[in-house]
Symmetry: C2
Subunit: 308 residues, 2 copies
Amino acid sequence: MIHILYAGPQADWDMYKKCMECALDVHTLNVHISPDIPPDQVAYIIYSPDGPVQDFSIFPNLNVVFNLWAGVERVVNNPTLNVPLTRMVDPGLTEGMVEWCVGHVLRHHLGMDAHIVNPSHEWAPKAPPLARWRKVTVLGLGELGGAVARALAALNFQVSGWSARAKDIPGVTCYAGGDLASVLEDSEIVVLLLPDTPDTVNVLDAETLAYLAPGAAVINPGRGPLIDDDALLAALESGQVGHATLDVFRAEPLPRTHPFWQRPNVTVTPHIASTSRPETTSAVIAENLRRAEAGEPLLYLVDRARGY
Amino acid sequence: MIHILYAGPQADWDMYKKCMECALDVHTLNVHISPDIPPDQVAYIIYSPDGPVQDFSIFPNLNVVFNLWAGVERVVNNPTLNVPLTRMVDPGLTEGMVEWCVGHVLRHHLGMDAHIVNPSHEWAPKAPPLARWRKVTVLGLGELGGAVARALAALNFQVSGWSARAKDIPGVTCYAGGDLASVLEDSEIVVLLLPDTPDTVNVLDAETLAYLAPGAAVINPGRGPLIDDDALLAALESGQVGHATLDVFRAEPLPRTHPFWQRPNVTVTPHIASTSRPETTSAVIAENLRRAEAGEPLLYLVDRARGY
């Protein structure tokens, strides 16, 4: 019997229990998974850095720690950890991000809100332009941004993308480095999927927002600090930005007094665009557990010297 | 100088003027297009059956009538018409339909409405399932339905489709003929793109709505009579259907007293999913004008004996 300690979010335990048992069945391992296992029996830990375990020294028979997050910065330097650590690379993360982004781009493209909220029951048959005439910009063309840009191009949008390093994505006009004037100019919908680094803070500010087509939509499923909130609010007030759909914020949950909640032309979604789902992460952990038991190399093993 | 009479909708004239001039420029024809041309000068007519022209006998020098609609049933038997008639096959129609359908499927899939309308500013980070776990059914796999099914499959939805004749669409489970129980069973989102025929009237009625997963979304960009309105209203009331997004109706504009306007779980869009746009239809007409002037065979020529 292999004992696996679940040290992830309490709220997700029921789902993880089902999904891990389902995923592990595939490999016919004889496992016991629980949030409550005597420390000396624990062979593996399913781990989130904000969970109940901070001191790994109490687990004398620990083999591997499976981090549930892509980021390991809050565990990689833990001095009590001296077994292999894996980070999460969740195939569902990209799929979910593509679905959220394409959905909200199409929502703005189609002008859906005017039909979803139509208290005067107005029948005004004005068709939107076709996607092939709509300029959409994706800032950030990494794993997530690249997939989003490809999906939008497949729907015929005129997609431009920008990234620090040059990329080549069929159907997407790719810009690398340099200023944002060319890529943002006349863009009607912009999607932010840049990482949060010193270079990307406030990438959308008063100057860059002014490049967009008047009334453009800003969609941010990336990171809160990518946007200068005051500049965005001013642009929403002036009409330079017609609508913002924001999934990430400098403080989360978004404080109830934040002006984003008050503006009719802002949609707040509660950091759901990029979410790991137990159904997909369980399969990754199950595969790594199988590998560990079989003595095979682990997937997504963290190099602790490099820190990731 | 070639004189082209614009006999389409008055509201679209400005757009057609620009778009036709733009499209015709390509072929460097010397044309004059106007809604007001002396009848004996008219060489071509851009035509809609509900427009100002019903009597073609007043145009002695007419060469071709370019119908703006796909349907020609209101002009094909006009006894005063004795020149070739073309129907419209608009490449933009399919693109627009795919965009509208994929947008509304993603809207329901993602549960967007709860964020678009969120007066209590609730922050409830519950991510939707991935598309790969979402069963979507497309009824009708013709030009439009097939394209919609393919686009949804490309986004990883579990797509089933149904059509009178057997189809083979990669990534789509295709059913042909027979009853709808198998294809609708447990479907969470259903899109109606069947033609309006005696066989398809009320294809969604009390019996077939009951096959759907409880709380399913019904999306109708096809034809109004495909749905038994009273059965749908009952299912919306009971919760068997969670939401309906309807673009077409038995009477249009949808009468202001119709119960669909009153229900919070119905979204009415004003017959915009399948709209011809001057930008795309102009290019088709321009190409046919070029062909007519060059003595080449016309595209989409109506066989008046067959009636289409």
